[in-house]
Amino acid sequence: MTKITIPLVRIAHARSGDKADWVDFGLFAWNAAGYRLLEREVTAARVQAHFAPWLPGEVDAWTLPNILALKFVLRGALQGGGARNLRLDNLGKAMAGALLRMEIEVTQDELDAALNTPRVGWWP
């Protein structure tokens, strides 16, 4: 089946935070159909390759199927840490947005399932 390319933001939400020089990301699927795609596509190696043109640090990854989430840590991401980082975003608070730019390949059926399966959270 032909694959299409989508940015993660289509099927996921995310938050980033900092500890010293490491930035960490929580990446969350809206439902189980989306989680299966994240788990398959968004590996530590792929995240590392995504950030490499900007921040070529190592990436660690963990899966949390119980909350339909992935966890990543990107090392060496803050010029040594928030209090010596010259960037406007010295704490990496906006870096979750950079993760959500990452592109993955899915089939149209997979995308439809991720988009059309109801969200687990209460969104009245």
């Binding site: 939400h13 938050r15 010293a20 043109p53 909350i67 406007l88 870096m95 959500l100």
Partner: protein
Amino acid sequence: MKMHRMKSIRIGAGLGFYGDNWEPVAASIERGGVQFIASDHLAELTLAILQKDRQRDPALGYARDVVPMLLKLWPLMRERGVRFVCNAGGLNPRGAAQAVLAAFKAKGWQAKVAVVTGDDVLSRLQSAEAGFDHLFTHEPVAGVRERLVFANAYVGAQPIVDALDAGADIVITGRVADAALFLGPLAHGLGWTLAGASSEQELNRLAQGLTVGHLLECSGQGSGGNFGSQGAWQAIPDLAHIGYPVAEVYEDGTALITKAPDTGGRINFDTVRQQLLYEVHNPHAYFSPDVVLDMGHITLHDEGFDRVRLTGARGTPPTDTLKVVAGFRDGYKAEVTWGFSWPDAWDKAQAAQATIRTLLKEKRIPHDELFVEYPGLNSAHGALAPLPKADALNQSNEIWTRLVLRTQDKAAADGFGRLFPWIGLSGPAYTCGFTGLHNTSELLGIWPTLIPRAEVEQGVRVELLS
């Protein structure tokens, strides 16, 4: 039939950082049914700010917002018997307590204020022959020892329990683990064993309590604030009047995450789990001084109507070390920002930047780097936000450039802004918005490391003032 009613307490989030908004805390006290508020004023960087205060005035070194905050909240708390725990003491918990008591005295108020000290381990790092390697890079501390300006251990919840057991209305600590600010009141109120907890039941309920603390320690980030998403955050109502999270926690550790009625924000599966993983590394071994948490079996059951049920946190005993975060002097930065307008805005910004580089070289201004970013184009996502081609950029209405000099030489930093103003009359046309003539600040490196627990805990003191 006799029903056994399980004991529970309600605890509300205070501030999430030094400078946060306390209006939502008033709402939790007035309408959220809380018995405790726990308030986190210290991020990793905050001690660096407080250290600069203390350098200017030895009576400072604490998060000064605790005074106006308590002047606002104490009348509401006193009326309802709500007790307050915070780490606003920073580098000077006794100074913070004295400032609060002086402000209370001026109002004719009385309160029992407990002070927790003993987290300051700077002299230990300064005098150590060995140890204190960087937790991430494993480099030895010797390379930064002469430049250390603070070093504080993350203390656990026990001294907070002791302070509350002794009848404190307000507990002011220095550096304690953020979530311990919450675990302390929970252990005190629900009779949980901290030190020596060994059974699965004891450890799992501590893990639940730690998770509650972690979910509440960042104020509005636990109730729909900073909800990173596309197209979903707009559905979170009334952030202008956000309610900070409140937890109802039962003896067995199960917890309900909610918020005060008639407040904005959202508590649901999505907003709560974004906070659950925030600033966590290995989610199967989230270390704290009181318990090591495994999040791998946590269930967040969304009951709707801003109620999420938390179960399934698993705990194992804590290690015999505590985390320390130290800061060391690491040079200076000076930053300027300026704009150039259409036409040819991009080329003009590049030409002006080249002039500055020339001056830095000709005047032999010592520096480690000149960092450049373009606000509005790439300052948030760096190279992952690729710049349009020069032709397109030259058609832009305006190009803003932010230039930051990193240097070990304070005079070089102080003089950086003075390199720019003449360019307004003698450089490329249509520049505006220059800022940064005098804009030097000291940079600090962060040094996370470990310390044997016993070395810190023997020096932790709880003192009751009134």
